[in-house]
C-alpha cells in the first residue's frame, strides 16, 4: 500500500514539477507548483513526518504560492514568449545540464554513496512526533529558532521598503487608502508605473504576506 501511494504521489510530483517549468502561462505554472507541494506534503505524511507535511501545506500552498499568484495577477502577465537563436541555445544547454545532473545523481546513488545502514526505527509515539519536534525546537535549536524570527522580521521590513519605493513621499496617504490598490486587470495592461499616488500598490497583499 505505502509503496503504491509513494509511486502515485512521486509521479504526481514529478509531472507537476515538469509542468511548472514547461507551461507558458505563469498562473498555470503556479497552480502546478501548488499541486507539486501538496503531493510533497503527502510524501511527507508517508514518511511519518505529518507535522512537516501539514506545515508544508500551510506555508507553501497557503502562503507562499498565494503571494506568487498575487504578483502574477498584479503584473497581469500573459503567456511567455520564447524564441530566437540565443534562447534556443540556452534552452538546449539547460536541458542538457539538467539531464547530466540527474544522470550523475543516479550514478552516485547507484554506487551507494552516502547511504549508511538504516537506523532501526523506533515506533512512532501515539500523539505523533509534533511534541518531540517542539521539544527539539525549543531546546537544542532554540537559538536558530529565535534567529529565524529575526530573519522573517528583516524580510518583512525589506519587502515593505522595496515595494513602497522612494518615488512617493506621501506614502502614508497611499497606505491609508487601500481601495485604490486595485490592479487593472480586464482592460489591456496600462503602464504599471503610473504617476505617484495612482500606483496600484500591491502593498496590502505584500504586507499581509510578509
Amino acid at each position: 500500500m505505502i509503496p503504491l501511494l509513494f509511486a502515485a504521489f512521486a509521479a504526481v510530483l514529478v509531472a507537476s514539477s515538469l509542468l511548472v517549468i514547461l507551461h507558458r502561462n505563469p498562473v498555470t505554472s503556479a497552480l502546478f507548483l501548488v499541486l507539486a507541494f501538496c503531493s510533497l506534503a503527502a510524501l511527507y505524511l508517508l514518511l511519518g513526518a505529518e507535522f512537516v507535511g501539514m506545515v508544508q501545506v500551510i506555508v507553501y500552498a497557503g502562503a507562499i504560492m498565494v503571494l506568487f499568484l498575487f504578483v502574477i495577477m498584479y503584473l497581469n502577465l500573459g503567456h511567455d514568449v520564447e524564441g530566437g537563436v540565443q534562447t534556443t541555445l540556452r534552452r538546449g544547454l539547460g536541458w542538457v545540464v539538467g539531464a547530466v545532473l540527474v544522470a550523475e545523481g543516479a550514478m552516485l546513488l547507484a554506487r551507494g554513496m552516502a547511504l549508511g545502514p538504516e537506523t532501526p526505527q523506533s515506533p512512532p509515539p501515539p500523539g505523533g512526533n509534533t511534541g518531540a519536534i517542539g521539544l527539539l525546537l525549543y531546546s537544542r535549536y532554540l537559538f536558530p529558532f529565535e534567529i529565524t524570527s529575526l530573519v522573517l522580521l528583516v524580510a518583512m521590513v525589506g519587502a515593505i521598503v522595496i515595494t513602497r519605493g522612494r518615488t512617493t513621499p506621501a506614502g502614508p496617504a497611499r497606505a491609508a487608502a487601500p481601495r485604490a490598490a486595485a490592479p487593472r486587470a480586464a482592460p489591456p495592461a496600462t503602464p504599471a508605473a503610473g504617476p505617484p499616488g495612482t500606483e496600484p500598490a500591491g502593498a496590502p497583499a505584500e504586507e499581509v504576506h510578509a
Binding site: 540556452r90 544547454l93 539547460g94 545540464v97 539538467g98 547530466v100 545532473l101 550523475e104 545523481g105 550514478m107 552516485l108 554506487r111 554513496m113
Partner: protein
C-alpha cells in the same frame, strides 16, 4: 557581601539616563539626575563602609564579584570589586567630595549652554574613578585609570571652542598616555613574573615570587614602571606639565579631577601596591626623591604665578609630592591621610577660587583682584580656613596630615627628605598666603565695571564651600598625633598596611614628637609671616626683591622653561620622525602599494569583464555547470 557594584553603577546609570533623555530632562532634571546619582552612590558607599567597620579588623575586606569579564587561555579577569579600609577611604572621598562638587557645579555652570554634556562627563568621571578605587584587580583598575584619563581630557577641553582649552586637553591626554604606557608595561611585568593581576593573589604570592636578587630586580623594574604611570596621573616630575595647563577646564573640574580625586590615583596606586614597593627599596627611594623634588620645584613656581588657578595647580603638584614622599619613606597611611585632607582643603580652595572667578566675571588674574573679603564674606571665610589648613596651622586638617608626614620622615631616618618637606612647607605657607592676600586683602585692583558686578555666589555654591570648610576644620582630628598605639585613622588603615608599619616609631619619646610638631608649626608661621610682610604690610619689599632677582623671577614666571625644553627635546624630533613617516612611508610605500594593486586589478578585470554578460541566466548556467563538474569529480574519486 553584595551590592558594591551599585556604587559605580549609579553614576553610569545616570550617564545612560542623561544620554537617553537628551534635552528632555531640562536643566533642573539633569542636575537632579547627576547630583542624585552621586549622592546615592555616596549613601551606598557609606552603608558599605559601615558594614565594613562592623567586621573585626583582620577580616575587613568585602569582595563583590559580578562575573568574568573575559577569559584568555588560563588567564581570566573578573569584574570584581573590593572594599577594604584603603578603598573605603578613597570611595568616601571620591563620592563625598564628588557629590559636593556636583552640587556646586549646578550653580557654577548654571549659564553654560552645554549643561547636560558637562554633567554627563562629570558622572562618567565619577563612574571611572569609583571603578578605579573599588577594583579588585589591576586590569579593572586600569579600566578606571584610562576612564578617568579620558574624562579628564574631555573635561579639560570642555570649552573646545577655545584653542587653549583644546590644546591643554590634548597635552594632558598625550602626557598621560606616556605614563599609562609605563603603567601598562608595569602590569605586563607583574603578570609575567607575579602570575596574576588579582590583588590578593599577587600580593600574597609576591614575597615568594620576587625573592632573591633577580626577584628584587624584577619587582624594582615593575614598581618603577608603575610609578611612571603614577607620575603621569599624579603630575610628578617629569610628567607634571599637563596639570597647570589643565586649569583651562571649568573650575569644578579642576577641583574634582585635578585636585581632589583623579590626580591622587597615583598615590592610591602606590599605596595599594605597598607590598611590592616594600620589596623594592630602590623604588621607594625613587618615589621619595621624585616626590621631594616635585614638591619643592612646584612650590617655587607657585610663588611667581599670577593666575589664581595656576597657583593652586602648582600647589596641588607640590602637595602630591608630599604624598609620594610619605609613601617613599614607608608611611603609607600618612600619605593616604594627607590625600584625604588634601582632597578637602584643595577642593575647597578650587571651589572658593571658582566662586571668586564667578564673582569677578571670569577674571583669573591675581593682579586684578584684591579687597574681596568684604563683598564675598562666605567665600572669604571658607578660603581663609582652607589656606590656613594647607599652610599647616593647627587645628586644621592640613596640619595633622602634613605633620604626620614630617614626623614619620624624620623618625624613619630620612632626614634629608624631612628637610625638603620643611622647606616645602615654608614655601607652601608663603605662596598660599600670597594668593590669599592678593585676592582678598589690600585695595581692589579690578576695573570699575567688574567691581560693580561683584556679588556673592548662589547658595548651591556656598553650601558645598561651608561643608568642605567644616570638613577642613575637623577632618584632621581623626589623625591626632601622640596617641598610644596610633591614632584612629592609622588604626583604621592598619589591616591594609600591617606589614608596613614604620619601625622605631613607638620607641621615640613624646618629646621628640612635640619638638617636631613645634618645628613644623614654626615653619608654617614663618611662611605666613613672610607673605604678610611682603604683600600686605610692605608691598615694596616684594617689588624690590623681584627687581633684584629679576633673573630668578623670570625663571620662576616661565616655570623653569620646562615646557620649552620638552618642546625642543621631545616634541620637535617626534614631529620630524612623524613627518618622515608621512612623506616617505605613507605616501610612497603604502600609497604606492595600494595604487599598484589597484592598477593590477584594473588590468586583470578588463579581461575578466568579458565573462560578465549581466544576464542572470548566464550566471546560473555557469553555476550549474560547476555543480555538474563537482559531481563528476565525486564520481571519479569516490
Amino acid at each position: 557581601m553584595t551590592g558594591l557594584w551599585i556604587i559605580p553603577a549609579l553614576p553610569l546609570a545616570a550617564v545612560a539616563l542623561l544620554l537617553l533623555l537628551g534635552d528632555r530632562a531640562g536643566r533642573r532634571g539633569t542636575a537632579w539626575i547627576a547630583c542624585g546619582s552621586v549622592g546615592l552612590a555616596f549613601a551606598f558607599a557609606l552603608r558599605a563602609v559601615i558594614q565594613l567597620a562592623m567586621l573585626p579588623p583582620d577580616q575587613r575586606a568585602l569582595v563583590d564579584t559580578i562575573g568574568t569579564w573575559f577569559r584568555v587561555g588560563d588567564f581570566s579577569a573578573d569584574i570584581s570589586f573590593l572594599l577594604d579600609p584603603l578603598s573605603a577611604v578613597m570611595v568616601l572621598v571620591v563620592s563625598g567630595v564628588g557629590f559636593l562638587i556636583h552640587v556646586y557645579s549646578t550653580g557654577y555652570m548654571a549659564h553654560e549652554p552645554s549643561f547636560r554634556r558637562f554633567f554627563l562627563y562629570l558622572n562618567l568621571f565619577t563612574f571611572a574613578m569609583l571603578t578605579l578605587v573599588l577594583a579588585d584587580n589591576f586590569l579593572l583598575m586600569f579600566v578606571g585609570w584610562e576612564g578617568v584619563g579620558l574624562c579628564s581630557y574631555l573635561l579639560i577641553g570642555f570649552w573646545y571652542q577655545r584653542p587653549a582649552a583644546a590644546e591643554a586637553g590634548k597635552k594632558a591626554f598625550v602626557v598621560n598616555r606616556i605614563g599609562d604606557f609605563g603603567f601598562l608595561l608595569g602590569l605586563f611585568v607583574l603578570f609575567t613574573a607575579g602570575g596574576s593581576l588579582d590583588y590578593q593573589h599577587l600580593f600574597a604570592a609576591a614575597p615568594q615570587r620576587f625573592a632573591g636578587a633577580a626577584g628584587t630586580a624584577l619587582v624594582t623594574v615593575a614598581t618603577l614602571l608603575l610609578f611612571v604611570g603614577a607620575t603621569g596621573k599624579s603630575a610628578q616630575i617629569p610628567l607634571y606639565v599637563w596639570l597647570p595647563d589643565a586649569m583651562e577646564g571649568p573650575t569644578p573640574v579642576s577641583a574634582l579631577i585635578h585636585a581632589a580625586t583623579m590626580v591622587t590615583a597615583g598615590v592610591y596606586m602606590v599605596a595599594r601596591c605597598h607590598v611590592l614597593y616594600q620589596l623594592a627599596p630602590v623604588s621607594l627611594e625613587v618615589v621619595a626623591v621624585i616626590g621631594a623634588a616635585t614638591a619643592l620645584f612646584a612650590a617655587t613656581i607657585g610663588i611667581a604665578q599670577n593666575d589664581i588657578k595656576r597657583v593652586l595647580a602648582y600647589s596641588t603638584v607640590s602637595q602630591l609630592g608630599y604624598m609620594f614622599m610619605a609613601c617613599g619613606v614607608g608611611a603609607f597611611s600618612a600619605g593616604i591621610f594627607h590625600l584625604m585632607t588634601h582632597a578637602f582643603f584643595k577642593a575647597l580652595l578650587f571651589l572658593g577660587a571658582g566662586s571668586v572667578i564667578h564673582a569677578l566675571s571670569d577674571e583669573q588674574d591675581l593682579r586684578r583682584m584684591g579687597g574681596l573679603a568684604r563683598p564675598l564674606p562666605w567665600t572669604h571665610a571658607t578660603m581663609l580656613i582652607a589656606t590656613v589648613a594647607i599652610a599647616g596651622v593647627p587645628p586644621f586638617a592640613g596640619f595633622f596630615s602634613k605633620d604626620e608626614i614630617l614626623s614619620r620622615s624624620y623618625l624613619s631616618g630620612h632626614h634629608r627628605i624631612w628637610l625638603a618637606e620643611l622647606l616645602g612647607s615654608i614655601l607652601t605657607a608663603f605662596y598660599m598666603f600670597r594668593l590669599y592676600i592678593l585676592c582678598f586683602r589690600g585695595r581692589p585692583r579690578m576695573s570699575h565695571e567688574v567691581a560693580h558686578h561683584v556679588h556673592e555666589s548662589p547658595p548651591s555654591m556656598i553650601v558645598p564651600l561651608v561643608v568642605l570648610a567644616a570638613l577642613t576644620t575637623v577632618g584632621g582630628w581623626i589623625g591626632m598625633p601622640l596617641i598610644e598605639g596610633g591614632h584612629p585613622f592609622e588604626r583604621w588603615l592598619a589591616p591594609v598596611f600591617e606589614n608596613a608599619a614604620v619601625a622605631g616609631l613607638h620607641q621615640e619619646s613624646p618629646a621628640t614628637e612635640w619638638a617636631l610638631i613645634a618645628i613644623s608649626v614654626a615653619a608654617a608661621l614663618l611662611g605666613i609671616g613672610l607673605a604678610f610682610r611682603a604683600y600686605l604690610r610692605r608691598p615694596e619689599v616684594a617689588t624690590a626683591l623681584a627687581e633684584r632677582f629679576a633673573g630668578l623671577k623670570n625663571l620662576l614666571v616661565h616655570k623653569y622653561w620646562i615646557d620649552e625644553i620638552y618642546g625642543v627635546v621631545f616634541v620637535r624630533p617626534f614631529y620630524a620622525i612623524a613627518g618622515w613617516f608621512w612623506r616617505f612611508w605613507d605616501e610612497v610605500v603604502v600609497d604606492g602599494t595600494v595604487n599598484g594593486v589597484a592598477t593590477v586589478v584594473e588590468g586583470a578585470s578588463a579581461v575578466l569583464r568579458l565573462f560578465q554578460t549581466g544576464f542572470v541566466g548566464t550566471y546560473a548556467l555557469f553555476f550549474a555547470l560547476g555543480v555538474a563538474a563537482l559531481l563528476l569529480h565525486f564520481l571519479r574519486h569516490p
